[in-house]
C-alpha cells in the first residue's frame, strides 16, 4: 500500500477558468450591488421605520463613532477596516471560485492523477450521486 502513497501533495491554484470567472464576477457583483446600491428598512423609534441606503447607514455609524482617542484616527481606522473587509472578501472569492489543480509529487507508483480514469472517478465520487458509488 505504501508504495502508492504520494510523498507530498500540493494544491496549486490553476489559472482562472471561464466558469471560475463567471462565479467570481457574479459573486462580487452581488456583493457590490447590495453594499453600494441596496437599501434596508430600519426601525427609527415610535413605531416608525425608514428605508435607507446601506451605504448611508454605515456613514451614519461613522458620524456616531465613540468619543475615545483621536477622532481622526478612529475615523481612519473605521473606513480602513471596512475597506479591508470588502477587499478581503472579494479576494477570498477570487480563490474560492477557482478549481484548484492538483500536483502530486509521487514516489514509486503513485496514481496517475491526470489520467481520464482518475478524472472520471473524481467527478463521480462526490455529491449525492457519488456517495452511492463505492470506490473500489
Amino acid at each position: 500500500m505504501n508504495g502508492r502513497i504520494p510523498e507530498s501533495i500540493s494544491f496549486e491554484a490553476s489559472e482562472q477558468s471561464i466558469s471560475g470567472w463567471i462565479v467570481w464576477l457574479v459573486s462580487i457583483g452581488t456583493i457590490l450591488v447590495v453594499v453600494f446600491g441596496g437599501s434596508v428598512r430600519g426601525f427609527l423609534g415610535g413605531g416608525q421605520t425608514d428605508r435607507r441606503p446601506i451605504r448611508d447607514v454605515w456613514r451614519a455609524m461613522h458620524d456616531d463613532l465613540p468619543e475615545v482617542g483621536a477622532s481622526l484616527f478612529l475615523s481612519f481606522a473605521y473606513w480602513l477596516a471596512l475597506a479591508v473587509v470588502l477587499a478581503g472578501v472579494i479576494a477570498i472569492l477570487w480563490f474560492t471560485s477557482q478549481s484548484p489543480r492538483v500536483e502530486a509529487i509521487a514516489t514509486n507508483d503513485a496514481p496517475d492523477l491526470d489520467s481520464d480514469a482518475a478524472n472520471d472517478r473524481s467527478t463521480s465520487e462526490f455529491g449525492i450521486e457519488g456517495l452511492r458509488q463505492p470506490t473500489t
Partner: protein
C-alpha cells in the same frame, strides 16, 4: 491537463483500509502535513479570512456603545477587582461601583433604573423593593462565580490603562477579545483538516462559517469570558480530533488535559467536554481495551484536575458548593424562575425558537430581535445542510457495510473508522451542549443560546459536511463562493437593518 481538486480524494482513497487505519494512523497525518505546508488554496483563504475577521471585529467593537454587552459591566468590574485588589470578587459581598449605575439598563439587575436622574447617578439605589417578594440588594457583582482565567489575562492590560476612562479601557478590553476569536477560527480550520485533510471545500467553508457567525463575532468584540470559554472548548475539540486520529498518544492526552483544565478555568460550561472526551477515548481505543482508555483518561483527568482544583477548592470554601449557583439564585430571587421541566423544554417549540433567535440576533440581553423572515432565511440552508448530513451518514454507512474490507477507506465518500468516530464525537458535542442549556433552564429563566456557543466548531463542521455531501464536484467553486457571499451579506443585513439603526439611528425619546 488540469484536473479538479476532487481528484485528491481518489488519491486519498488509496491510503487506508480499515486494517491499515489501525496499524498505521500516521498516513493521514503525513498527508495532512504535506497539504498544510505548501500554502495551498485553503490556507491562503484562511489567511485572508483572518485579516477580514480582525478588521470586521474592530468595527464590531466600535458599533456597540460602551458597556451594552451582556453583563459587560460585571465582567469589567471583575477584571478591575483582580487588577486593583489582586483577588477575585465574591457573590453577595462585592458591589458594582456607583459609577456604573449610568449603565443600569444593561445590568442584572440594578433597579429602579433611572440613569437620567442626576440624584440617582450621584447616589445609586443599593436596595430594591420588590413588593410582596421583599427588599433585595441592588447593583451587586453577579459574575463573581465565574472562573478567573479570562480576568487574570485581562488584568495586566487593565492595570496598564488605568489612567484612562472606564469607557476607553472597555474598548481596549473589547479589542483584546479579538485574538480569542482568531484562535477559534484557526482551530476550526485545523479541526476540519484533521478529519478531512484534503477536503478544500470544508477547509474553506467551516472557518468562514465560524468567522461570520454574528453571535460568535459579537462575543469576540465584548468584555466577557464567553469568548475564552469558546476558544478553550474549540482547543479541546481540536486535540480530541488529533487524539482520535493518532489513537491518543501520551503527548496528545497530556495536551488535552491542559486544555481541558484551562477551558474549565475560562468558563464553567466547559464541563460539557468531559463526557465527550470520555466517549472519544473509549470509542477510539475500543471499550475492551480498558487498560488503554483508563490510562489516557487518567492522564487527561489528572492534569485537568491539578489545574482546576484550586478554583474549585476556593468555590467550595467560599460558597459551600462548587458552582455558586445557590448564591446566584439568591441574587435573582425576586424575578428568577425555572424555565420549565427538562422534557418540557426539550420539546417546547417556543424554547427552541428563542434559542434560534439568540443564536443569530438579540445581541446582549435580548435587545435586538431579528425578523422571522430573516431567521427563516438562515434556518432553511441550515436545514438543507442537516438533511445533507443525514444523507451522507446513511450513504457512508452503506458504503462501509457493503464494501467492508474490499476497498480503501479515508475519503470523504467512504470515511475511515477514525473519521466516523470524529464525526460522531462532533455530533455528541452538539447534543450535550444543547442538553446542558436545557438543564440550566430547569433552574434559571435566563438560560440562553450562548451557553452552547462553545460547540460552534462542531456545528460548523457538521453543517458543512452536510452541504458538501449535496454538492456535485463541478459545482464546488460556485457553492463555496455562495457560502461566503451568503455569510457576508447576512452580516451586512443584520448590521445595516438592525444593529446600527438600533444603536445609532433610533430616536429613543419617541419610543413609548
Amino acid at each position: 491537463v488540469s484536473v479538479t481538486e476532487t481528484i485528491v480524494q481518489p488519491d486519498l482513497a488509496e491510503l487506508e483500509t480499515e486494517k491499515d487505519a489501525r496499524s498505521e494512523p500516521s498516513v493521514l497525518l503525513r498527508l495532512q502535513e504535506s497539504v498544510g505546508r505548501r500554502g495551498d488554496l485553503a490556507t491562503r483563504v484562511l489567511v485572508l479570512l483572518l485579516v477580514v475577521y480582525i478588521a470586521k471585529q474592530v468595527v464590531t467593537a466600535l458599533i456597540f456603545p460602551p458597556f451594552t454587552g451582556h453583563d459587560e459591566v460585571a465582567h469589567f468590574n471583575y477584571i478591575q477587582t483582580v487588577a486593583t485588589e489582586q483577588r477575585v470578587p465574591v457573590l453577595l459581598e462585592d458591589q458594582l461601583p456607583d459609577y456604573f449605575y449610568r449603565y443600569c439598563r444593561y445590568i442584572l439587575d440594578w433597579s429602579p433604573c433611572e440613569p437620567d436622574n442626576p440624584r440617582w447617578l450621584e447616589q445609586p439605589f443599593r436596595f430594591a423593593d420588590w413588593g410582596a417578594s421583599g427588599v433585595y440588594p441592588a447593583g451587586m457583582q453577579y459574575v463573581a462565580n465565574h472562573p478567573p482565567l479570562y480576568y487574570m489575562i485581562m488584568a495586566p492590560f487593565f492595570a496598564a490603562s488605568d489612567y484612562l476612562s472606564p469607557e476607553t479601557q472597555q474598548y481596549i478590553l473589547r479589542l483584546l477579545a479579538i485574538p480569542f476569536g482568531v484562535l477559534i477560527v484557526a482551530l476550526a480550520f485545523l479541526s476540519v483538516r484533521t478529519i478531512f485533510p484534503a477536503e478544500t471545500f470544508l477547509a474553506i467553508t467551516v472557518p468562514a462559517f465560524v468567522a461570520f457567525q454574528p453571535q460568535i463575532s459579537y462575543e469576540a468584540a465584548m468584555v466577557n469570558n464567553d469568548i475564552l470559554g469558546i476558544a478553550g472548548l474549540s482547543l479541546v475539540l481540536y486535540l480530541l480530533l488529533r487524539g482520535i486520529r493518532d489513537r491518543f498518544p501520551l503527548r496528545v492526552s497530556a495536551l488535552l488535559g491542559v486544555s481541558l483544565g484551562l477551558a474549565l478555568l475560562a468558563k464553567s460550561t466547559s464541563v460539557t467536554a468531559i463526557p465527550v472526551i470520555a466517549l472519544a477515548i473509549i470509542a477510539t481505543v475500543g471499550i475492551r481495551n480498558w487498560r488503554a482508555w483508563i490510562a489516557s483518561g487518567s492522564i487527561v483527568a489528572a492534569i485537568a484536575g491539578v489545574i482546576v482544583a484550586p478554583w474549585y477548592v476556593f468555590l467550595y470554601r467560599t460558597y459551600g458548593n462548587i458552582d455558586g449557583f445557590d448564591q446566584i439564585m439568591q441574587l435573582q430571587e425576586p424575578w428568577n424562575q425555572p424555565s420549565g421541566g427538562f422534557l418540557d423544554l426539550l420539546f417546547n417549540r417556543g424554547f427552541i425558537w428563542w434559542r434560534w433567535r439568540e443564536t443569530w440576533g438579540e445581541f446582549g440581553w435580548r435587545r435586538i430581535p431579528l425578523d422571522s423572515a430573516l431567521l427563516w432565511a438562515i434556518a432553511i440552508p441550515c436545514i438543507v445542510a442537516l438533511v445533507g448530513l443525514m444523507i451522507y451518514a446513511i450513504s457512508a454507512w452503506r458504503l462501509r457495510r457493503d464494501a467492508a474490507g474490499q476497498h480503501r477507506l479515508g475519503t470523504f465518500a467512504s470515511p475511515s473508522r477514525m473519521q466516523v468516530i470524529a464525526l460522531l464525537v462532533l455530533l455528541v458535542t452538539c447534543v450535550i451542549a444543547y442538553l446542558a442549556i436545557i438543564e440550566f433552564g430547569t433552574r434559571f429563566v435566563l438560560t440562553q443560546a450562548r451557553y452552547y456557543f462553545p460547540a460552534i466548531n462542531a456545528v460548523a463542521i457538521l453543517l458543512m459536511v452536510g452541504l458538501r455531501a449535496l454538492t456535485p464536484a463541478r459545482l464546488i467553486p460556485a457553492v463555496q463562493s455562495g457560502v461566503i457571499v451568503g455569510l457576508f451579506l447576512m452580516n451586512v443585513v443584520i448590521y445595516s437593518k438592525y444593529v446600527i439603526p438600533y444603536w445609532h439611528l433610533t430616536d429613543w425619546s419617541a419610543v413609548p
